[in-house]
Symmetry: C2
Subunit: 464 residues, 2 copies
Amino acid sequence: GCSSDMGWGDLGVFGNPSKETPNLDQMAAEGMLFPSFYTANPLCSPCNLHAPGHNWGHPGFELLLPELLKKAGYANMIVGKWHLGHQPQFHPLRHGFDTWFGSPNCHFGPYDNKAIPNIPVYRDTEMIGRYYEDIKIDRKSGEANLTQMYLQEALDFISSQQASHQPFFLYWAIDATHAPVYASREFLGTSQRGLYGDAVREIDFSIGKILSHLQNLGISNNTFVFFTSDNGAALISAPEQGGSNGPFLCGKETTFEGGMREPAIAWWPGHIPAGQVSYQLANVMDLFTTCLSLAGLQPPSDRQIDGIDLLPVLLQGKLIDRPIFYYRGNEMMAVRVGLYKAHYWTWSNSWEQFSQGIDFCPGQNVSGVTTHEQEEHSNLPLIFHLGKDPAEKYQISFASAEYQFVLERVSPIVQEHKATLVPGQPQLNVCDKAVMNWAPPGCEKLGRCLKAPPPDPKKCFWPH
Amino acid sequence: GCSSDMGWGDLGVFGNPSKETPNLDQMAAEGMLFPSFYTANPLCSPCNLHAPGHNWGHPGFELLLPELLKKAGYANMIVGKWHLGHQPQFHPLRHGFDTWFGSPNCHFGPYDNKAIPNIPVYRDTEMIGRYYEDIKIDRKSGEANLTQMYLQEALDFISSQQASHQPFFLYWAIDATHAPVYASREFLGTSQRGLYGDAVREIDFSIGKILSHLQNLGISNNTFVFFTSDNGAALISAPEQGGSNGPFLCGKETTFEGGMREPAIAWWPGHIPAGQVSYQLANVMDLFTTCLSLAGLQPPSDRQIDGIDLLPVLLQGKLIDRPIFYYRGNEMMAVRVGLYKAHYWTWSNSWEQFSQGIDFCPGQNVSGVTTHEQEEHSNLPLIFHLGKDPAEKYQISFASAEYQFVLERVSPIVQEHKATLVPGQPQLNVCDKAVMNWAPPGCEKLGRCLKAPPPDPKKCFWPH
């Protein structure tokens, strides 16, 4: 499971004062909690599908987890948000998935403006409708039964795979916690946290249903389950539509801990011992390698793979020494080595955004750290001890022996990383209205095809 | 148990990323967690002894919990910090305690300056030495075995009470988390969080020992245990010597949530169902009333009592509608009603302190809320929804219907509270070096008596 824009601090087990996630908390009590689990990029993006080995080629060169699992006989389903492109060549069924119920992107607007297409919802190869037009999300009340639909799809897929005795991979990518947030009628108004909390509660409820379904079918000890998020809570949407990053600094869009540290729980009864907390530094790319390992497969050998196999961590409680890199686009902003984090660049949000009231660090201001210019510190990175100072408030003095010690440890790791890095080709820099979802496959049957404007490529503005 | 200066966010169960409090987390799993539990005042003060009914008289008029429990046949012990005065008339053995091992105040300095007396440590009526001179705390390494001494005292007292079949009240008031923080050698360097975390780990270890001791003696189902703190983490001492207030605003000294919301766990196997979370708004004064109720006693009827009896909450999961008042000295700064909090006054720290680098809200700045003047908002209190906005960042607009609705609900509660309030006589406004611990009882035997200067009463400055 991967919940879009859910923050580290949204789960009871990670200290949300509302303590409204009994199922996820129970999942942690029965499995392994990762307090230091990271996303690869603080933006909406697929959680765990990529093999973004850092010798990027054209996107078609990238291999996705389901493509490889397919070779080992797995049936693969994606439920929910794809977010790896909506054009035909990017369709999930061309990249290893056998079946899909969901949408190529979040449930953004324009809500009811027919001049720009709303995001379509697909059943496998064809669209079945569009958000706000056919798939209802009441923007006033926040009511939508999408999470229930996604839950039912997951349960049905699991049932059918259990019946056919075929191994399966289910990527359950719900987005009720992504603004505009939504919840089903039975969850509306049930949270202390307002609509955002209603969405969290419904996701928590659904996770409970999925886990108990696995148990009822007798396949829980044969099914590895991992729950996480794609980036930190979007604080620009808080408090009504955004989550919590707990004690961490800033949120989505930034490479501070609030932007990139994620809730993460592994569950596999009979294999992962119950009630464990792992201090392993891990990230979403590890799920690629780990899932391959579970299926008895090796990662592709023709490229550098960033993810590590977490099985020794999960099954034997081992700790693997490895750094975490914090990227924003193609820029390595920071690196974590052990309990230390070194910022080579800092940026909170631009003055232009800030002056418009867009603030990714509301109520937070750490002088020289939450900078409104993207400031370079490559010569003297800003170093923090995340054990003593998880909120990145107390920079270690440049003059201290500790600073010197850390820098000497971190520098060669960064140098080695950069030496083996081949920058990827940015996929999000060129936007063109002509390639929006004007006429997705299946639109004819529904009478939902729209006429695309002529091509007009421009530099993108990405608020999310 | 009451841990001085421990913050809400210091426990794993309240989301500390280090997850280093397995015993307290287990205590919560076996008992009831209170995410909305408050202290009465954001300063070092006794946790739960007072009956500070708001018709204060002279301090002698105040009744303490052990004085009342004594009448029901309880043996009462205080282990650790007293902090209700060090002059003879304030001695805990004059206020209901039968035995004491600890000190009248925190382990402040002057460390080795004999010109001002160090805080003495008492065994019952007499001092057995002074901090830093006889009771060692290594300020460089942070090593001190005090928590182990306090643990042993607690275990011995419990054993002896179990053997004599006499009911008991143990007030275990440890202060290893109060700067200068300390830990025993076996805990030094064991935490991801540095010395502060070592202190937390040792307290957590000790709580585990106490609970298992009760179980081993077969009296756990006959013993009500409550764990909390006296105020929020002292952020001026962070990150080396101060704790975490999780997602909350500011810390000790302030009436924001970080200053007054406390970690709180109730444990009573066989009576309090396991794994409960109570959303009851509660505070330390309730422990007075609740403990009396447990002992079959009524609170004194000759005065207003602010604490409520939590037994229906603990035993039947009920929720009692009641406000929480946030005091700083004699000023009612704020009130919480349900999920709403209204600030009638705001203050973070003075410009004078701030300009000296003293900041009770490091890295946090909420415009118009974290004010450096004590600003009055009695006509239009600043209102926050703590469910959606536990960090007090998003003030509800004065112009909104929600604001009007809340104000109409809160105003009569505040009016009624103020109408029945008789301000107490401030106990901390006059300081006099002459009444320090120059010659505590027992000093003669040890050759530790110091000569007091002539009386010189002055207005106090209280940094803590």
